[in-house]
């Protein structure tokens, strides 16, 4: 991929190299307009959107734990998970509204249903899901309306896997290279991250005697998240670089350590008691949040550098012209 621009007289064409560091891949030379980005930087606020992704995962997987706890007669775990999902989804909606340029027009989200817009699909999903989590939590706390509460818990659990994973589609359905190129694995990363967050909340807040399922969920979720993340970086091509440099790298290192450490602690927690469980839970919650922040910032970095837009597209064109398809550059 060294020669990505045409031959012929090209005099003082402005070129930008990667960030002056020696990369493992050959340095891609590419043209740009004074190094300016091709794409617009995502305008979302990091805390709002990373928070939205994190809380949505926490809520969704907590609903699954709540339903499982109901079925297996673990009332304390059930209450913790129900309160967790209702609280998390409320905060996540608040983050979403806060991030709008016109928060007062939030309800315009429900003006149409557009299958081509993951944000539209997600808004309808949450419109159905959020009240269910609140009904489930309210019935549990009130100790009344048991049948309605059980129905709400079960319905919320039915929607929960979608709530926890649709957010991956939300960010991947963009022109942002480090998000879009990961669309195959990102939902699995987010599913694992949701599981560890919910397990973390349960470990931190429920009595250890009932958190066996949360401990196992933590371990399984961590394996899924870390495995899918590796796979994603490997399959993503050039855009994977942003996950391994600068600010995203810091967040993702932290996420990896906290999630793996938290899962390990969780596995040991049944022998070590409450403090250990609380530590494990906190680490898992923090790990999931750090992952979302890392993914968010990696996407922003990939949109800000024209290299991640231009070079893969150039390679695509070159591959196409090699295989003899008629399409030519521009």
């Amino acid at each position: 991929m060294s020669e990505v621009t045409r031959g012929g007289p090209n005099g003082g064409r402005r070129r930008r190299r990667g960030r002056g560091e020696r990369a493992m891949v050959p340095d891609a030379e590419f043209a740009s307009y004074y190094g300016r980005p091709v794409l617009k930087r995502p305008e979302w606020q990091p805390l709002d959107v990373a928070g939205y992704l994190w809380l949505g995962g926490l809520a969704g997987a907590s609903s699954l734990l709540a339903a499982g706890a109901d079925v297996t007669a673990r009332p304390a775990l059930a209450r913790t998970a129900k309160l967790g999902s209702a609280g998390a989804i409320t905060l996540s909606l608040a983050a979403l509204v806060h991030d709008l340029g016109r928060p007062a027009r939030f309800l315009n989200m429900l003006r149409v249903f557009k299958p081509t817009s993951p944000m539209s699909v997600g808004s309808w999903l949450l419109a159905a899901y959020a009240p269910l989590t609140m009904a489930a939590a309210a019935a549990d706390v009130a100790g009344r309306y048991r049948i309605a509460g059980a129905a709400a818990t079960a319905s919320a659990a039915a929607l929960a896997p979608a709530v926890a994973t649709y957010t991956a589609v939300l960010i991947c359905d963009t022109a942002v290279p480090s998000w879009h190129e990961g669309y195959r694995e990102m939902p699995f990363v987010f599913a694992g991250s949701a599981a560890t967050a919910a397990a973390g909340w349960a470990l931190a807040a429920a009595p250890p005697g009932q958190t066996g399922p949360a401990r196992r969920t933590a371990v399984l979720g961590a394996v899924l998240e870390l495995g899918a993340f590796r796979l994603m970086k490997r399959n993503m091509g050039l855009a994977a670089e942003t996950y391994d440099s600068g600010r995203p790298r810091g967040w993702l290192r932290a996420a990896e350590g906290l999630t793996a450490g938290g899962a390990l602690l969780a596995a040991l927690a049944h022998r070590r008691g409450r403090v250990c469980a609380a530590l494990a839970g906190t680490a898992l919650l923090a790990g999931s949040a750090a992952l979302r922040l890392g993914v968010f910032h990696a996407g922003v970095a990939s949109a800000e550098d024209p290299r991640y837009t231009v070079v893969p597209q150039r390679e695509r064109l070159a591959a196409r012209s090699r295989t003899g398809k008629p399409e030519e550059a521009g």
């Binding site: 305008e43 991030d99 340029g101 817009s117």
Partner: protein
């Protein structure tokens, strides 16, 4: 085929698809289009800065810049390519006497929203604020936009943007109001060299093909069309260009693809991940009692 976009969007008997053909080979960089656009559309001022990069202080398209003239200063050999009968060694000897030893060429190009056939901004807009007009152009309805910013991240050309003080997304409307009364867009009207041409897309494509052929015949071998091909990743642009260098030199993506082309695959993977999560939680409850 591509003229069916309006019909596909639900317009019963649409007029022909309208668009821009921006022939950058005759652009003189006067920025009349930028000014005309700002004036007609009453777009607010968005920063008076000196960038230090060429004459381009406008910098790029954005919420309050719907036409942007790019200026690219290139050093080229004195005898431009295509003149096969020129002896390059002779030419080089002649150059030795002249200061600098080479020449400068300016590329100027007026950029604009591409009014894509498959427009990512429109696809992802959750409110229906972005819509396809009867002229097959893509327009934001400012009374509906809630400023979610999704379109900003979705556009493969980095065109649409949220206006900071206002919160809503803005971009070129291809002068929807003027088209409605049979007038041409303000930029095309103001362009003194006809670099910006407005008309039915089919007609513009024919005119553009002739123009490229003519330029090739006169030795400008690098002339190429950008965004005119209905087979490209966005189904062709309603506003396409004639360029004299690679698209990325002008800040344009060389092979843009509408992100929603992969949407079915995204949902499939998300569904599989959702099932995995459910199975994972079930596994957590299976087996041991504690």
């Amino acid at each position: 085929m591509t003229d069916d976009v309006a019909r596909e969007a639900g317009h019963a008997d649409p007029p022909p698809r309208m668009g821009f053909f921006t022939d950058t080979s005759v652009c003189i960089g006067c920025k009349a289009c930028e000014v005309a656009c700002k004036e007609w559309n009453a777009i607010p001022e968005d920063g008076l800065e000196l960038t230090g990069m060429s004459y381009d202080n406008t910098q790029g398209l954005g919420a309050s810049t719907w036409r942007h003239v790019a200026f690219i200063e290139q050093r080229v050999p004195a005898a431009p390519g295509g003149h096969e009968d020129v002896d390059v060694f002779d030419a080089a000897r002649d150059l030795a006497g002249s200061p600098g030893g080479d020449q400068v060429r300016w590329l100027m190009s007026s950029d604009v929203c591409k009014h894509c056939t498959h427009a990512a901004c429109l696809d992802v807009c959750p409110t229906g604020s972005l819509f396809r007009t009867e002229f097959s152009t893509v327009v934001v309805q400012e009374d509906i936009c809630n400023g979610c910013g999704y379109c900003v991240s979705a556009c493969p050309y980095g065109v649409i943007e949220r206006r900071p003080d206002d919160g809503r997304a803005w971009k070129c409307t291809l002068c929807y109001d003027r088209l409605g009364v049979g007038m041409e867009p303000a930029c095309a009207k103001a362009c003194p060299t006809d670099s910006i041409q407005f008309g039915p897309l089919e007609e513009l494509r024919e005119r553009a093909a002739d123009r490229v052929a003519h330029l090739h015949a006169t030795g400008e071998g690098d002339a190429r069309l950008y965004g005119e091909d209905p087979q490209d990743g966005v189904g062709g642009d309603g506003a396409f260009f004639l360029l004299l260098d690679e698209p990325e030199v002008y800040g344009l993506p060389p092979d843009p693809v509408v992100t929603t082309r992969d949407l079915a695959g995204m949902w499939r993977h998300a569904a599989a991940a959702a099932a995995t999560l459910a199975a994972l939680a079930a596994a957590g409850f299976a087996g041991r009692s504690r």
